[in-house]
C-alpha cells in the first residue's frame, strides 16, 4: 500500500511548534501568564495538556507562574513556563532559585522590543544578556536559540533534555518573528525522539543526601512523595540540603553551580556552520537574524565575496572555542543582531582581538535584511 501522505508534516507557527515540542518532550505541567508575543504557547498547552493527564494553570502573575513550575517539577513532572521580556524580568528571582536548588524546568522567552513594555508585537534580541545575568548571583546558565518553527520544536525538546540532565532551569530564547511565522514543520516519530529523564536515587532513604557530591557534579533529587524526605532551599546549603554558613561548603556549592556547565560545555554547545572553511568574513548571527545571514552568505558568494556563517543554537554557555577557531581563519567578523551589540561583545572577548568585529545592529523592531548584512560584510573587508 502506498504510504499515506505524511501527517507528520504540518504548518505551524513557532509558538505552536514550541507547545508541540513540549508535549513530545514529556512536559506535563505548564504554568503561565498571558503576554504578547508568547501567549499562543500557553493557549496551545491549555488545549492539549489535560488530554494526556498533564496540568495547565494560568497563574495570577509571572512570578507565581515560575514558582508553580518549580514546585511541580519537584514532584517529578517535567515543567515549563513561557513569557516575554517584561515577564522574563519578573521571573528572574525564581529562575535563580531553580538554579540554586537545582530544579529542572524550561523557561521560554519570546523576545520583543524593550526596555520596559517596549514593542509587544515586534521582534528583538535584547534579552540575551539578561538570560545570562538576569538573576542575581553567580551560576551557570544554559540558553538555547531557534531560528525557525522547526528548530523551535527541536530546541524545546532539547531544552527539556538539558534541564533534566543538568538539573537546572534551561532558557529558550526565540523572537517574535520566529514565534509568529507559520511555516513547515516535520514532526519526528514520537518513538524516535531521544528523551532524557532526571535520575532518581538508588540508595535507601536513610542513606540519601540530595546534594551529595557526584562524579559529574549534578545532584540526584528525589521526587517529592517517594519516601525521600529532604529539604530544598534557596539559601546556601550543604549536601544535606539544609542551610549552611560554612565557608568551605558555600564555596564548593557556588563553584559547582558554574562548573557543572563549564565541564560539560562540549555536550551542551552547538553551532551551525555554513561555508566557513574558506571564508574571509564570518557572520555571527542567531534567531531570525540568522535566516537573513544565511541568505546574505549566498548573496556574497554570488558577488565573489567569501562570507560564511557561524550560528550558535546555544547562546549560553557561549561558544567561545568555536568563535576563536573561526577567528583564526577569517579576516573579520560581522555580528548581526537585533540589539545594540549584546553578543558582539562576547565575540570580541572570545576571538581575543585577533580580528576586527563589525557590528550590525537594529533596534527598531524590524528584521535585519540580507542586504544589510551584505553591505556590512563589504564594509568589513
Amino acid at each position: 500500500m502506498k504510504k499515506k501522505r505524511a501527517d507528520n508534516i504540518c504548518m505551524m507557527q513557532g509558538n505552536q511548534a514550541c507547545a508541540r515540542g513540549a508535549m513530545m518532550a514529556g512536559c506535563r505541567f505548564f504554568a503561565g501568564y498571558p503576554i504578547t508575543p508568547s501567549s499562543e504557547i500557553a493557549e496551545n498547552l491549555a488545549l492539549s495538556m489535560p488530554a494526556v493527564g498533564g496540568r495547565f494553570i494560568q497563574m495570577e502573575d509571572e512570578i507565581g507562574a515560575m514558582g508553580a513550575v518549580i514546585g511541580a517539577s519537584l514532584t517529578g513532572l517535567k515543567s515549563m513556563t513561557a513569557t516575554s521580556g517584561p515577564g522574563f524580568s519578573l521571573k528572574q528571582e525564581n529562575i535563580g532559585y531553580a538554579a540554586m536548588a537545582e530544579v529542572p524546568c524550561v523557561v521560554v522567552n519570546v523576545q520583543r522590543g524593550g526596555p520596559s513594555t517596549g514593542m509587544p508585537t515586534f521582534p528583538a534580541q535584547m534579552d540575551v544578556q539578561q538570560a545570562r545575568w538576569g538573576s542575581h548571583g553567580d551560576r551557570g546558565v544554559i540558553a538555547l536559540s531557534a531560528s525557525s518553527a522547526q528548530e523551535t520544536f527541536e530546541q524545546t525538546i532539547r531544552a527539556f533534555n538539558l534541564s533534566e540532565k543538568y538539573m537546572m532551569p534551561v532558557i529558550l530564547l526565540v523572537d517574535e518573528v520566529v514565534a509568529h511565522s507559520t511555516e513547515k514543520v516535520v514532526l519526528p516519530d514520537p518513538g524516535g525522539i531521544e528523551l532524557f529523564n532526571r535520575k532518581q536515587p538508588t540508595e535507601s532513604p536513610g542513606e540519601y543526601l540530595p546534594y551529595r557530591e557526584t562524579d559529574d557534579g549534578i545532584p540526584v533529587l528525589a521526587r517529592f512523595g517517594t519516601g525521600y524526605r529532604y529539604n530544598v532551599t534557596g539559601l546556601c546549603h550543604d549536601e544535606t540540603g539544609f542551610p549552611t554558613n560554612n565557608p568551605e561548603k558555600i564555596e564548593k556549592l557556588i563553584r559547582r553551580l558554574t562548573d557543572k556547565i563549564e565541564r560539560h560545555r562540549k555536550d551542551i554547545t552547538h553551532c551551525h556552520k555554513i561555508m566557513l572553511e574558506d571564508a574571509d568574513v564570518a557572520i555571527f548571527a542567531y534567531g531570525s537574524v540568522a535566516r537573513s545571514a544565511r541568505r546574505a552568505v549566498f548573496l556574497c558568494r554570488e558577488a565573489g565575496i567569501k562570507a560564511g556563517l557561524i550560528e550558535p543554537t546555544v547562546l549560553w554557555p557561549f561558544p567561545s572555542d568555536e568563535v576563536l577557531e573561526t577567528a583564526e581563519g577569517v579576516k573579520a567578523f560581522v555580528v548581526a543582531e537585533m540589539n545594540l551589540g549584546q553578543m558582539a561583545r562576547e565575540v570580541e572577548l572570545a576571538s581575543k582581538c585577533r580580528v576586527e568585529v563589525h557590528r550590525l545592529n537594529r533596534v527598531d523592531g524590524r528584521l535585519i535584511t540580507p542586504q544589510q548584512v551584505v553591505e556590512k560584510v563589504r564594509e568589513a573587508l
Binding site: M59, G67, I70, A72, N94, F224, R229
Partner: protein, 271 residues
C-alpha cells in the same frame, strides 16, 4: 509527654528563633496536629517563603521546600496541582503572605486550591529587624515607623474570607491546645484553608511596644483574644482592641485540583 523528637530534625536544633518567639510553640502544635491526623510523612510537603516563620520547614522531618520571599503559595500550588495526593502545608508570615505575597494569597483563596496555610502573624518583619508590616496596628512602633505606624492594618483572616477561602480560623500561641485543634481542622478541610496564628515577637515588636518580655507578650495574647462565641455577644465598644479567635469560616466549596482531575477524566473518557 508528647514525643516531638520523632517528628523533628534534631540535628538542626536549637532552632534559630529568639527567646520567647512564638514560632516554636506553633511548630509544636503543628507536630501534634500532624500526629493526630495520622498522615504519612512521606505524603506531606511543607512549603514556606522567607522570614522567621518560614524557617519552620528546616525543623520538621517531612518533604520541605523553603522558597523565595512571598512565593510559598505559588510553589505550593505547583506541588499540589502536580500531585494532588500530597498534603501541602504552607508556612508563612504576615509580611511574606500579605505584603510581597498578597496577590498569591488572595488568588489561591479564590481558586480554592486544597492548601493549608499557617499564617504566623507577629505584626512585624522580625528577621530583617523590626520593620512595619501590613498587620502592624496603627500607631504601633517599628524600625521603619519610629513615630508610630501611620497606616491601617490588614485583617488577614477577613481578607482570606472575602477572597473565597473554604476555611479560615484564628488561633494564638497562648492557647496552644486550641491552636492544635484548629490546625487539625484546617488540614482536614478540602479546599483553601488559612489559620492565622498570633505568634509574638518580643525582640522586634515587643521591645518597641512596651512588651519586651516574652511573658508580657503572652499575657497580651491571653487578654486580647476573645473566642468567636463570646465575640458575638460583645458590643462594638467592647470589641475595641480585642481579636476574635476560633473558626471564622467553614464552608464547602468546589476545590480546584478536583475540578482539574475531573476535566482530565472527562477528556480521557472522550477518547
Amino acid at each position: 509527654m508528647f514525643d516531638y523528637l520523632r517528628y523533628i530534625r534534631e540535628r538542626n536544633f536549637p532552632h534559630i528563633w529568639c527567646s520567647g518567639c512564638g514560632d516554636g510553640i506553633v511548630l509544636k502544635a503543628l507536630i501534634r496536629a500532624v500526629d493526630k491526623l495520622g498522615i504519612s510523612r512521606d505524603e506531606m510537603v511543607m512549603v514556606s517563603g522567607i522570614g522567621c516563620s518560614s524557617r519552620t520547614p528546616g525543623y520538621v522531618d517531612i518533604n520541605t521546600l523553603h522558597t523565595t520571599h512571598g512565593r510559598a503559595i505559588p510553589f505550593a500550588t505547583g506541588v499540589k496541582l502536580a500531585n494532588p495526593k500530597l498534603h501541602v502545608i504552607v508556612v508563612t508570615g504576615d509580611g511574606d503572605a500579605t505584603a510581597i505575597g498578597g496577590n498569591h494569597y488572595i488568588h489561591a483563596a479564590r481558586r480554592n486550591i486544597d492548601l493549608t496555610v499557617l499564617l504566623y502573624n507577629n505584626y512585624i518583619y522580625g528577621m530583617t529587624g523590626g520593620q512595619v508590616s501590613p498587620t502592624t496596628p496603627r500607631g504601633k512602633r517599628a524600625s521603619t515607623a519610629p513615630f508610630g505606624n501611620q497606616e491601617p492594618a490588614f485583617n488577614i483572616s477577613d481578607l482570606a474570607e472575602a477572597a473565597g477561602a473554604s476555611f479560615v480560623a484564628r488561633g494564638d500561641v497562648y492557647h496552644a491546645q486550641k491552636l492544635e485543634k484548629l490546625i487539625v481542622k484546617a488540614v482536614q478541610k478540602k479546599g483553601f484553608s488559612v489559620v492565622e496564628i498570633l505568634s509574638p515577637c518580643p525582640t522586634a515588636y515587643g521591645r518597641r511596644n512596651r512588651m519586651a518580655h516574652p511573658v508580657k507578650m503572652m499575657e497580651w495574647l491571653r487578654d486580647q483574644t476573645v473566642p468567636v462565641a463570646k465575640w458575638e455577644r460583645l458590643s462594638p465598644e467592647e470589641r475595641e482592641g480585642k481579636v476574635r479567635t476560633g473558626i471564622i469560616v467553614d464552608v464547602d466549596k468546589v476545590e480546584y485540583t478536583e475540578t482539574n482531575d475531573k476535566l482530565i477524566e472527562s477528556l480521557k473518557a472522550d477518547k
